[in-house]
């Protein structure tokens, strides 16, 4: 596993305590799992995504990531409606490992209230939490 200092955590994203990242464009938030999470999970073999149009509240489980022999839940850091899911993950779940912030994004959600993301951590405070 990676040392905390080796983690790739882009400055422009926000991070949840359960290791999802959120990238904001207007009121649409792109969500995936971060480098720490993909490293801890190991090789991802399947990603279960929700249906476009589904509504979730902050903290709800919206899908699962299956790594070898383990199914882990993933949670949305913001309430809203799913407006897109990453279809490429159906055939290439390994994108979550290889490109967690770009090709391996999981969902896009239209936020009901973007200020819900204020409780998320920036890179520095997320790193502090991981060092715990």
């Amino acid at each position: 596993m990676k040392e905390i200092t080796e983690l790739n955590l882009p400055e422009n994203l926000k991070y949840s305590d359960s290791h999802e990242w959120a990238g904001v464009e207007g009121d649409v938030v792109t969500i995936g799992i971060d480098d720490y999470a993909q490293d801890q999970l190991g090789e991802v073999v399947f990603v279960e995504v929700p249906e476009v149009g589904a509504n979730y509240s902050k903290g709800d489980q919206f899908g699962t990531v299956e790594s070898v022999k383990a199914v882990s839940e993933i949670y949305t850091p913001v309430s809203g409606e799913i407006v897109a899911v990453n279809e490429a993950l159906a055939d290439s779940p390994e994108l979550v490992n290889n490109s967690p912030y770009e090709n391996g994004w999981i969902i896009k959600i239209k936020a009901d209230n973007i200020s819900e993301l204020d409780t998320l951590k920036d890179k520095a405070s997320y790193l502090e939490m991981l060092k715990g």
Partner: protein
């Protein structure tokens, strides 16, 4: 506070022979209590299941090679679960170990935890003079047969992780009747051989002695004080 939490040893509950659904409900209840803080320690369930086939989250029914009617005639249910992995069989004589552990708080990665459970089974098998090995392509533990070169599956792993808490666990074949495995492609793989500690050694092995070894190695490998 976190430190205090980590230092609390897990509670070990030996359930003996138990119905799959009952044990599953119990796990879900324990996980819920751990999430909302009613229980502040980890829990390890040790048990054997009454005969049952279970499917992984993504199924495995296609790997049943007999009819469901046939299984009904044998009084064996098929149950859908939320764990990783594919179809498998559980029955008396197979030792089940469900560590319900807050791996997030203990800073254990999921893949590391899978490896720790594999290592626990390897060391336990070694105590009974069985050479358990990993297979790069197929997780779980295999008994190495150096004469034929064909390995047979000895133990399996399937986990679920909810809010940082891992549940489900490992199943190590000790002295069970292996016949029901021939009614499926275990773990979704056709043509694999299944075995047990007793089948490998041709000696009687009591579940109780395996339990003790398994707990000992789990403690040593994970560093979780028991």
């Amino acid at each position: 506070m976190t430190h205090e939490f980590i230092c609390k040893p897990p509670q070990i509950i030996d359930l003996g022979l138990i119905d799959y659904t009952k044990a599953f409900e119990m796990q879900k209840e324990l996980v819920a209590k751990m999430i909302n803080g009613d229980i502040e320690h980890d829990v390890i369930l040790i048990l054997e299941h009454q005969p049952v086939f279970t499917l992984g989250k993504r199924g495995g029914r296609e790997n049943l090679v007999v009819s469901e009617e046939f299984l009904r005639s044998k009084n064996i249910e098929i149950i859908q679960t939320e764990r990783g992995g594919n179809i498998t069989y559980h029955g008396p004589g197979q030792l089940i170990f469900y560590p319900i552990v807050n791996i997030e708080k203990r800073k254990l990665g999921v893949s590391d935890f899978v490896c720790a459970l594999e290592e626990t089974m390897i060391r336990t098998s070694k105590d009974f003079s069985v050479n358990g090995v990993r297979d790069a392509k197929n997780h779980g533990i295999w008994a190495k047969n150096s004469q034929t070169g064909v390995n047979a599956k000895l133990g399996s792993i399937g986990l679920s992780v909810k809010r940082g808490i891992s549940f489900h666990g490992l199943a190590l074949n000790v002295n069970l009747d292996l016949t029901p495995f021939s009614w499926i492609n275990p773990c979704g793989m056709a043509g694999i051989l299944m075995t047990s500690l007793e089948n490998e050694t041709k000696h009687n092995i009591a579940i109780k002695s395996v339990k003790e070894k398994l707990l000992h190695h789990f403690k040593e490998i994970t560093g979780i004080e028991i």
